[in-house]
Amino acid sequence: MSWITVCKLDDIVPNTGVCALVGGRQVAVFRLDDDSVYAMSNHDPYSRANVLSRGIVGDLKGELVVASPVYKQHFSLVSGQCLEDPQVRVAVYPARVDGDVVMVEA
């Protein structure tokens, strides 16, 4: 496990996500409008497609979430927990902004 630079902060439009290749893994990286960043697996367990980075981010009852663009389940940006099914959780990774770059530990 080590911190890896994935892109510049400017590469991510605020309140959207991108997908980064980190050590062979597909990682969805989201930037919010306060320039905080979050990272989770890009794999959507419901559609089995690598698409979570393309979901709409927001909050539900205060919990930061991304909605899968395929079948619209919500996943916590912080814990990876699926809000619709307590049995389902996607992997999350530490992420931070360092100067003008975004780093993910994976």
Partner: protein
């Protein structure tokens, strides 16, 4: 106690209501016989004119299936009662029956008054009372050009509308100096006159018809007391009604000086075993020409007969609200300000054709009456204020003035007492409605069925709905249609807030009207509202985060994370060169191709990073975005039309191309589909679309709110035989009205089903411009049309946007998880097991 044999003479609206009231009581009669002179049982005379706009006699029928049989009532249709023998307590009929009665009920109604004008007995002089009269008028109208109604009262204007609808040049001749002299004052009458004249109906007031002679140009000539004359083919007399009291008169019952069978508070005549109800009766020196008091008498008589000796008729409210030739007219209480010391409060806007008058008590504390012309939306609340003596607000004028900042308009239904009469036609009180809601009638439909409220004239419909909403809210039922937890507004409300506040971004809207960060529900909804209001490029950085993935990548996401592309092919017309380009592009990028149901070509299996490359080639060949990814106008389908088809009557392809090019890219609450058929064979299936256009010999018929999908719905005809320009004007208005008022993800079909007033209301807004919004809606649409640009053309020329079209932000590799296998000569996404083995093969 049983009441013995009951004979009822007359089966009109009131007679029928009496029967229903009677059989609903535990102490009903031992045997009931009904004489009915007309050839059919009770029908809705109030809606008689709708007979001319396509309703059949069966539609107007008021008698539930099997009613007479179920209750053992003997109905003698077409058998007129001829005489009452009070001594032997028996009724003799035209067919020679003689029937004994214990109690007799007269519900003989009224007959149209025909003034003693020489010539009134000529052929083609009619009255307007029964279905048979209307049938005769309709038949005569086929060979006539002009028609004249004598009498400018309520019924006279109804008759004029009927003649107008039959295509006749129509005139109304009135003895009084104004129309609807009983209900309206001079100013109201003048405004109504102007509105009716604007519809092309001639109005001639202060005219006394003295003679009808043979005409020179037309069949008849009316001569007036002032020396003038007017030629006409048809004459319809509608100069008021008179109680049909001959039977009672001959039987020696007490009759009023000017006609009418005298009754007491229990509706008994001078013979306590004989009752009289409705328009034939005279109570307190008054006879009533409205159905509501008749219904009240029916109830009183039924209760009294069943042994409720305290059942009493009290003076009935004569307030009326109706729509005359598309003009709303209402009169409440003391409309003429006859109460001593009464004050008038008048608002007139001749520009938009509004006249509103309040009659207020001398101390300005209570409302005595009102007159409304042009807009009667406030009828329900003003009537309630009058009837229930609700204290007037500090500024009574606010009740009729256009709403002003901070000024509360009208009053909440919550203020009404339980005894407030809401539906005067059917005597339903607020308490009755609340009781039905408590008993489980929680939809407007169930409420109407259960209480009969709003089922006769429908005027109280909005009020009933308000009470329902209010009661449900009190019971904690969620009647709100908030977008989501972030916005306490419906889509329609948010649309207005955005437009009126000139808000241009999600952040502005959120900070002013919402809370939190938003979600996948409100963000795309706001994106759609912003696009409809301002039509800014949807991939601008400030709008991009709001877009669903389809809009974000301007393509349709498929189950494996790839996208499909549908270039626009307006009207489904495509030259061979462009067809070849689609084939070449599909071949080059290895895409699966399929023809869609809407005459387009869909290219599947494109990865995000391929989308701009594919579109560069498509744009170069002259294609533009087809918006298949958006909640927007998708396609306009067409048949080949008159150019090639042997049966086509109009060029449906050209119309489809023009329509598609006009509305392309229009963002709306949900996707929009349209179609144009070149003749009534309807090969383009236009009646299954949100907007369907079908060619006629004279132009185009416009259908709206059709749908295929889960719940198919045939579209409703909005307007007939339109020319090209009017067609586009109506579609502009219709679409913008839907976009403004639709809920999130609400197709036009569901929108219409939830719209109070349904297709008639849409027709008024779109074709008659009843809200005065027509120009604004057209201007909004024109602004949209003028600002259209192809989203893909813009995307491929903008490096910032293009940067987003890659799978990895830090690598040019494609997504290895996207795997295709071959099937029937094309690709398809691998199934999970196929994908596993394919991925393993690559890794080894």
């Amino acid at each position: 106690m049983k009441t013995g044999k009951i004979v009822v003479i007359g089966n009109g609206m009131v007679g029928q209501r009496f029967l229903e009231q009677l059989v609903g009581r535990p102490d009903g009669a031992a045997g009931i016989t009904v004489f009915c002179a007309e050839p059919r049982p009770a029908y809705d005379r109030v809606q008689l004119t709708s007979f001319f706009s396509g309703k059949s006699a069966a539609d107007l029928n008021l008698v539930p299936e099997g009613f007479f049989e179920r209750h053992g009532i003997a109905l003698r249709l077409g058998d007129k009662a001829l005489a009452i023998d009070r001594g032997r307590k028996a009724v003799r009929s035209a067919r020679g029956h003689e029937l004994p009665y214990d109690k007799l009920v007269l519900a003989t109604g009224s007959y149209p008054f025909v003034p003693r004008v020489p010539g009134a007995e000529w052929p083609d002089c009619y009255v307007y009372r029964a279905i048979e009269d209307l049938e005769a008028i309709r038949k005569a109208a086929r060979t006539a050009r002009t028609g004249t109604v004598i009498g400018g009262g309520l019924l006279g204007l109804e008759a004029a509308k009927a003649l107008h609808d039959l295509g006749l040049e129509t005139h109304v001749v009135e003895f009084a100096p104004r129309l609807m002299a009983v209900q309206l004052d001079d100013s109201g009458g003048r405004l109504l006159r102007r509105k009716i004249e604007a519809l092309g109906v001639g109005v001639h007031t202060s005219k006394e018809t003295t003679k009808i002679v043979k005409g020179a140009e037309r069949r008849h000539k009316l001569l007036f007391a002032d020396g003038g004359s007017r030629e006409t083919d048809l004459v319809v007399f509608s100069a008021g009604i008179r109680p049909r009291d001959q039977l009672a008169r001959a039987a020696g019952l007490a009759i009023g000086e000017r006609g009418g069978i005298v009754i007491n508070d229990h509706c008994q005549t001078s013979d306590p075993d004989i009752y009289a109800l409705g328009e034939c009766a005279l109570w307190g020196g008054r006879s009533y020409g409205l159905v509501a008091p008749g219904y009240q008498m029916a109830e009183v008589a039924a209760r009294h007969l069943a042994g409720e000796h305290d059942a009493r008729f009290a003076d009935a409210d004569m307030s009326t609200k109706l729509k005359l030739m598309g003009v709303d007219v209402a009169s409440i209480g003391d409309a003429h300000g006859a109460t001593p010391g009464a004050l008038n409060c008048v608002f007139t806007d001749e520009a938009t054709g509004l006249y509103k008058k309040l009659v207020v008590s001398n101390d300005r504390k209570r409302l005595l009456g009102a007159v409304l012309v042009g807009d009667a939306a406030d009828y329900g609340s003003l009537l309630q204020m009058t009837l229930n003596v609700i204290p007037l607000p500090e500024h009574p004028e606010d009740l009729i003035l256009p709403a002003r900042e901070g000024g509360g308009k009208g009053m909440g239904v919550d203020l009404l007492p339980a005894t407030a009469l809401i539906c005067s036609c059917n005597s339903v009180t607020k308490g009755g409605i609340c009781g039905a809601i408590a008993a489980g009638a929680t939809s407007l439909g169930a409420l109407k069925k259960g209480t009969k409220a709003s089922t006769t004239c429908g005027g109280c419909g909005p009020l009933v709905k308000q009470i329902l909403d209010c009661e449900l809210r009190k019971r904690g039922v969620d009647v709100k249609n908030h977008l989501c937890e972030h916005f306490p507004y419906s889509r329609q409300e948010l649309f207005h807030l955005t437009r009126i506040g000139a808000l241009k971004t999600f952040d502005e809207i959120m900070s002013k009207h919402g809370q939190g960060r938003g979600c996948d529900i409100c963000k795309p909804a706001v994106a759609s509202i912003l696009a409809a209001c301002w039509n800014e490029y949807i991939l601008k950085p400030r709008h991009a985060p709001l877009q669903d993935t389809n809009d974000h990548f301007l393509a349709n996401l498929q189950k494996d994370g790839t996208y499909s592309i549908i270039p626009r092919v307006p009207g489904g017309e495509i030259p061979p060169e462009k067809l070849i380009v689609l084939g070449e592009v599909a071949k080059k990028f290895g895409l699966y191709t399929k023809i869609t149901g809407a005459q387009r070509i869909d290219l599947f299996g494109a990865r995000v990073e391929q989308l701009p490359l594919i579109w560069k080639e498509l744009v170069a060949a002259g294609f533009e975005s087809g918006h298949a990814y958006g909640k927007a106008l998708r396609t306009v389908k067409s048949c080949v039309g008159s150019t090639w088809c042997r049966y086509g009557v109009q060029d449906s392809v050209l119309m489809a191309i023009n329509i598609e090019n006009r509305y392309r890219g229009l963002r709306s609450p949900h996707k929009l589909k349209m179609a144009v058929s070149g003749c009534t064979r309807e090969c383009a299936e236009a009646q299954g679309k949100d907007v369907g256009i079908i060619a006629t010999e004279k132009g185009w018929n416009l259908y709206v709110c059709g749908n295929g999908g889960v719940k198919p719905r045939h579209a409703d005809l909005l307007a007939r035989d339109l020319d090209d320009q009017t067609l586009v004007q109506y579609i502009d208005r219709f679409l913008m009205f839907y976009i403004r008022t639709g809920d999130r993800l609400q197709r036009t079909a569901t929108w219409l089903e939830n719209l109070e007033g349904g297709i008639d209301y849409v027709r008024k807004v779109v074709c008659e411009d009843s809200l005065g919004l027509g120009h604004e809606l057209e201007a909004d649409m024109q602004k949209f049309v003028d600002s259209y640009e192809c989203e893909w053309k813009k995307a491929i020329n903008d490096p910032e946007t293009l940067k987003r079209f890659r799978h990895f932000v830090n690598s040019d590799q494609p997504d290895r998880n996207v795997v295709f296998v071959a099937e029937r000569g094309q690709i398809r996404p691998a199934r999970p097991d196929e994908r596993e083995s394919a991925l393993e093969a690559v890794e080894h």
